[in-house]
């Protein structure tokens, strides 16, 4: 059958879209009159920080609002069907068949109890698009197209048996199972490593083009969306900031906010002179660690100099967080020593004395879970003051106020509880808690990963200012190379439990690169719409050669 519909035909129109969300008893506006339109085969990028309402708009394009949200105003038209007045049954017939959804976390969005192929085949069979056998065949084809390993048998595995990147591609395949007109991609690569992200981005781009599917691509990462989208809408606090074609948006942003988004990742720490002869504050020698039989850390050697930042970079599973667990004594290593200012630390934290514990502090990735939600900020910061330094009463309150000033928060925050704070503010409290112990070394484990880019830039600047003032050292664990570039003095690159490269920032990050460092660096998306295509072409050529 020949498809006669012209390519420019309008598929989706949302006019004056208003969505409310419930907080406690009251409803507040989270999307305030946004217009979205989309033609067949077009890819629209929705970008903004958390709370911008971008996912909510994406879901509204399916006529769906999450529990606790409601669509209160606007027109919603999908190919002549009014999604606001459509019955649940009509929506059910659209979902999966004509509009499909790809969620952020594939690991959580696949049913753990079923084989992948059965979840793939569910939509086509239930919607009467094809028989089960036909759907299984289609699935194998799609798995092949998406470059999944062993496409014949891939689908017969359970979700927990495949890797995160594979699972994300399998979910894209699942969305494609009925050849829908529109797919909503809701941050599909946010939870992935950079090298894995490339595979998924390439797969999505390829398949969307091949079937001429329209897509709404929701993300917070402007570099990523510029690879995928024809047109971009920048959102903030539920309102449109600006809208333009991808190229023009990147080259000539009109609004201040867009320029801010574009210009993040420009912060750079000034290079400092490192004295190799200086006595290191932390020295790890020949460290080997195991999880039961699994060798997680292999012969790790590193030294951190006073008042410097050592970045530990690697992808998930590279052992970088395990390294932190070893240094803090949470996971006693099998062999090797950890020396702090020349003294060997007991391998388990249980055998370290209070002074040894005080001098190494940690800041975690998720400020939400790292703070006790029932405690006031004064208790959270005050406990280490009492525990390590024996401060009580007015002395303690004074110090709490000083610490809050140090992290640039008003002193009356002491009486608040964590849920009254934003994500960035919570992370600042975590920093204050670590500083309360007057440590010499702070281990920062992915401290900016859960934060928006503008916010995480603020946190990085704060950490740097604190280092300059307090001469504290950081061991900065991250998977994000932009962060590494911004804050490190020295860098360790880890892969599968081993250090593959280490050295000063300028040495590691200037050519010639180590092979794996090069792969990591080249995989970080750039603000260039052609970046992905060029990169894939280049890699193709190298592999053919």
């Amino acid at each position: 059958m020949i498809d006669l519909t012209p390519k420019s035909e309008r598929l989706l129109t949302m006019k004056g879209l208003c969505i409310q969300g419930r907080t406690g008893e009251t409803w507040i506006d989270i999307v305030k009159g946004v217009d979205v339109h989309l033609n067949r085969g077009e890819v629209l990028g929705l970008i903004g920080e958390s709370g911008a309402g971008k996912s909510t708009i994406g879901l509204a394009a399916m006529g769906f609002a999450r529990p606790g949200c409601r669509i209160v105003g606007g027109e919603l038209d999908f190919d002549g069907i009014n999604l606001r007045t459509a019955s649940p049954r009509q929506l059910q017939k659209l979902h999966g068949k004509r509009i499909a959804y790809v969620a952020q976390s594939a690991a959580a969005s696949f049913n753990p109890a079923f084989r992948l192929i059965n979840q793939f085949a569910e939509s086509p069979v239930q919607h009467g698009v094809s028989s089960y056998d036909q759907a299984v065949e289609d699935g194998k084809q799609l798995f092949q197209t998406l470059n999944l390993p062993d496409p014949e048998n891939f689908g017969f595995r359970y979700p927990h048996q495949v890797s995160g990147g594979q699972l994300q591609r399998a979910m894209t395949a699942m969305a494609m199972s009925c050849k829908p007109d529109l797919i909503i991609f809701d941050e599909p690569t946010t939870a992935l490593d950079v090298t894995t992200q490339i595979e998924v981005l390439a797969a999505i781009k390829h398949i969307v083009k091949r079937f001429n599917t329209a897509a709404i691509y929701v993300t917070h990462d402007l570099a990523v969306v510029s690879q995928m989208a024809d047109r971009i809408m920048v959102l903030r606090h539920g309102e449109l900031v600006e809208e333009n074609t991808t190229r023009e948006m990147i080259e000539a942003p009109q609004k201040e906010y867009t320029r801010d988004l574009l210009s993040t990742r420009t912060y750079r720490k000034a290079p400092i002179s490192l004295e190799e002869s200086e006595k290191p504050i932390l020295e790890v020698k020949n460290l080997n660690a195991f999880y039961s039989d699994f060798h997680v850390l292999k012969d790790i050697n590193l030294r951190v100099l006073p008042a410097t930042t050592m970045a530990v970079v690697g992808e998930s599973g590279s052992g970088k967080s395990t390294l932190a667990r070893c240094i803090t004594g949470l996971l006693p290593p099998k062999t090797g020593t950890i020396e702090f200012e020349g003294d060997t630390l007991p391998s388990s934290y249980k055998n370290r004395d209070k002074e040894q514990l005080r001098r190494i502090q940690m800041i975690y990735q998720m400020p939400d879970t790292a703070l006790n939600p029932r405690q006031r900020i004064s208790e959270i910061i005050g406990r280490p003051l009492t525990f390590y330094l024996g401060l009580t009463g007015a002395e303690r309150d004074k110090r709490i106020a000083e610490l809050l000033e140090l992290i640039e928060l008003p002193t009356d925050f002491a009486n608040r509880i964590p849920s009254e704070l934003s994500g960035g503010q919570k992370q600042r409290i975590c920093i204050a808690r670590a500083l309360a112990a007057n440590p010499d070394l702070i281990i920062c484990d992915e401290v900016t990963s859960a934060l928006d880019e503008l916010v995480s830039e603020e946190i990085l600047k704060l950490l740097q200012r604190l280092q300059d003032e307090l001469k504290v050292s950081y061991l900065f664990i991250t998977h994000d190379l932009a962060t590494v570039k911004a804050i490190s003095d020295e860098i360790i690159v880890m892969l599968q439990g081993e250090i593959v490269e280490q050295g000063r920032r300028d040495t590691v990050l200037t050519p010639p690169f180590h092979e794996y460092t090069d792969l990591l660096l080249s995989s970080v998306p750039e603000m260039d719409p052609d970046w992905l295509d060029n990169l894939l072409e280049k890699r193709q050529q190298t592999s053919e050669r």
Binding site: G96, K97, A100, Y158
Partner: protein, 318 residues
């Protein structure tokens, strides 16, 4: 598969150890009862020589730990000893009663489990509607009422007034199967009412708990009908807590039937236990208690193993 076998073996060992501890508790509990067993059996007027001879015969003159070891060794070999009341072998006495109790428990379970799980799923499907609320209210009222009361209400309505079922469930193994079912209908229905609420509410809660998970949202956005989302996507993942609560209730059906058996004069193990306590037939009491305990431990073990086995991560390792 090996890891599953290992876990099962571990749980089994733990279960056996628990039983051992329980046997000790039962033995010591019976020992601690006031009065001398020989005097109780022979009566006050018995001559001291007779009492002494009787004690020797029952080996009651031996120290406690030796008697415990002898009792336990015999027990694990299947020799439960003889009843003091009528001298019959306890294994023979208990065998029939245990079979009757298990029959009643199975009968009640085969009504209660499907109905409770079914209602639980329906309540989750139509949650926050009048249907959900009324089921919740009815089942809650039935567990709030003591079981003997439900039993007597059953008798009053279904036996005395309408004469549909017999009020006394006197069954024997010579009776045809359906006659036995008919005779034990009232206690089975009573037990159903007692255990249903718990299972039904757990099924509902376990499913509702999962409805916020991303894969349920995904299933909904795949355009699947509501019943399919609940039945195919939520229910299989809610199995572990549901199995646990079902098994605990099954254990209750076997162990907790004492009152119901007495109400309906049903010839089960519970009835035997009550009779034996009143006639001070201590070997029978000990044996029945240990069998109750074993049932409980065994069923809990099954629950543990089933919840491990229904976990796809355990069944299909990487």
């Amino acid at each position: 598969m090996n890891s599953i076998l290992k876990i099962v073996a571990q749980r089994l060992a733990l279960g056996i150890f628990t039983l051992f501890v329980i046997s000790l508790v039962i033995f010591l509990g019976v020992e601690a009862l006031p009065g001398d067993l020989a005097e109780a059996v022979l009566g006050r007027s018995a001559l001291p020589e007779t009492v002494a001879a009787f004690r020797r015969e029952l080996r009651l003159d031996l120290p406690m730990h030796i008697r415990y070891i002898e009792w336990l060794t015999a027990f694990v070999q299947g020799d439960l000893g003889n009843s003091l009341a009528n001298g019959r072998e306890i294994s023979e006495l208990i065998g029939v009663r245990l079979a009757n109790t298990l029959f009643l428990a199975l009968f009640a379970a085969s009504i209660a489990v499907p109905v409770a799980v079914g209602l639980g799923i329906l309540a989750a499907l139509y949650r926050e509607t009048w249907f959900d609320k009324s089921i919740s209210m009815v089942t809650l009222s039935t567990i709030s009422v003591p079981e003997f009361f439900i039993g007597y209400i059953m008798i009053a309505f279904l036996a005395v007034q309408t004469n549909i079922f017999p009020s006394i469930s006197n069954i024997t193994w010579e009776m045809p199967f359906f006659d036995r079912l008919y005779a034990s209908a009232l206690p089975a229905i009573t037990l159903t009412f007692v255990v249903m609420a718990h299972m039904m509410r757990m099924t509902r809660a376990a499913i509702v708990n999962l409805l916020m998970s991303p894969y349920i949202e995904m299933a909904t956005l795949k355009g699947l009908p509501r019943w399919r989302v609940i039945l195919m996507h939520a229910f299989p993942n809610a199995l572990s807590p549901i199995i646990n609560v079902i098994i605990i209730n099954l254990a209750f059906l076997v162990v907790g039937v004492v009152v119901v058996e007495v109400v309906f004069v049903y010839p089960g193990l519970g009835q035997l236990l009550v009779d034996s306590v009143s006639s001070r037939d201590l070997p029978v009491v000990q044996a029945s208690c240990l069998i109750f305990a074993a049932t409980y431990v065994l069923l809990n073990l099954t629950a543990d193993i089933l919840s491990i086995v229904t976990n796809p991560r355990m069944l299909h390792p990487k």
